[in-house]
Symmetry: C2
Subunit: 271 residues, 2 copies
């Protein structure tokens, strides 16, 4: 029974899923900065008999772009190990025969190159930053309101995030605007959607209880993973706040100072 | 008892409140077009012993501007008879000692000339059309999120409206975006807010049951008035749609072809 808690659960783990921004590195202008010990921690996980995947809600750039940035920082990581909302959305589009009108950041467009975008029968919005213009929002709205069965996909549902110029509205706010105008409910693609976590588990060929998610976002990373039956551990880096440790609805399986400490504890349990 | 229905209720009426766009005139580019019989109908109401007020959710222009337009069309109307969201918001600001950050259309700014806007402690959004930029929304958001007790006023809560270039998102969509990002509930100023209708009744010195609202918007005009204890009649002009006559929650006290017919029926009952 003790094995089901943290860090005892590490004994029976078969796979680990890592959030990226706030766990591997601190995001910011241009390239980010690696969090102390994280590069080495990823190496040690890869040298173990655990499977490893990366799972992010990054939607301003295609995976090729931000994986190359992480490689420049020194991380051993490849595109095939990374799960992000855009490819997950592409999979849903192909499965359901949907052709999207895209309201996404220019850097994300390469992810949708293989998708038929003519005569759209759904809308996808991501964090479009300065592309969230009155004109672009009206265009997305007109596509939706003109459909007999309007379908809106939102790449994540964040409220806001911090940039060097201050706080900015995130995609979730614009998702709510379109939901209200069209009287519909968006389908969220990305964390904390169970379908998104499940696609990572499927790729590893694991059952939920065999996998552990490590993230800095208590609700989307830890809570989302737990809702799928996975273990969830929070790091005290990135967007962690002390108040997370007394959150009203989500309690992390464990809380650690950073990724390096989490990996130490996992590997110690297994030797 | 028959007197409580339409048009019997007209016998005991003391005041009438008219919606403007869609009842008096059809809105459009530049000046609108008077709806047949409406200019004469307003004249006949003014010549009767009924009090008359006008009540609109217009927020792109100051009252002086759109009242002048109606006068050019031939209507006997003055600014003091018109109730619109901006002056109602100004009254609330003064009552509660609030200083707004304004996200409104340029044409509306004159309504807020007398208001202290330094060091804002609330946000007011109206239908800002092309002023709904990413930058302006972030600015409004940053004011709200920086307040200990964020207060957001929305001038109306429309979902969308039609312009010559197609459908455009209305202020309600942007209200929902800010509500979600800041985890708050906006205070709606204008129809169908009971406080707004009450201010018109107060100005006439009437009880709700002594007044009748005539509008083209079933939910905001007719339903809003009925929620305050007033009578509500819908005209088959403006945004009226046949499906309004079998609406799931709002049933108009009566439905008439246009304002001229409503005034005929009212005055016939009283003579």
């Amino acid at each position: 029974m003790a094995d089901s808690g943290w860090p005892g659960c590490a004994k029976s783990l078969k796979g680990v899923i890592l959030d990226m921004c706030g766990v591997l590195y601190d995001c910011g202008e241009g390239d980010g900065v690696a969090i102390a010990g994280s590069i080495e921690a990823v190496k040690r996980l890869k040298a173990s008999n655990l499977q490893l995947r990366f799972c992010t809600n990054e939607t301003q750039n295609a995976r090729e772009t931000f994986v190359a940035m992480l490689q420049r920082l020194g991380f051993d990581i490849s595109v095939s190990e990374v799960f992000s909302p855009a490819p997950a959305a592409v999979a849903v589009l192909k499965e359901r025969g949907l052709r999207p009108h895209l309201l996404v950041y220019d850097g994300l467009l390469p992810e949708f190159e293989s998708v038929d975008k003519t005569n759209p029968n759904c809308v996808i919005i991501g964090d479009s930053a300065e592309k969230f213009t009155y004109q672009n929002l009206n265009e997305a709205f007109r596509v939706l309101i003109g459909l007999e069965k309007p379908v809106l996909f939102s790449l994540g549902q964040g409220r806001y995030y911090k940039e060097s110029n201050g706080l900015n509205l995130d995609v979730g706010a614009y998702m709510k605007a379109l939901e209200y105008a069209c009287d519909l409910k968006a389908e969220v693609v990305g964390k904390p959607s169970p379908r998104f976590f499940q696609s990572v588990l499927n790729d590893m060929g694991l059952q939920p209880h065999e996998a552990l998610m490590i993230g800095d976002d208590l609700v989307n990373d830890v809570g989302g993973a737990q809702n799928c039956g996975m273990k969830g551990v929070q790091v005290r880096t990135g967007k962690y706040r002390p108040s997370d440790e007394r959150h009203s609805t989500v309690t992390a399986g464990g809380t650690v100072d950073n990724l390096a400490q989490a990996v130490d504890m996992i590997l110690n349990q297994r030797h």
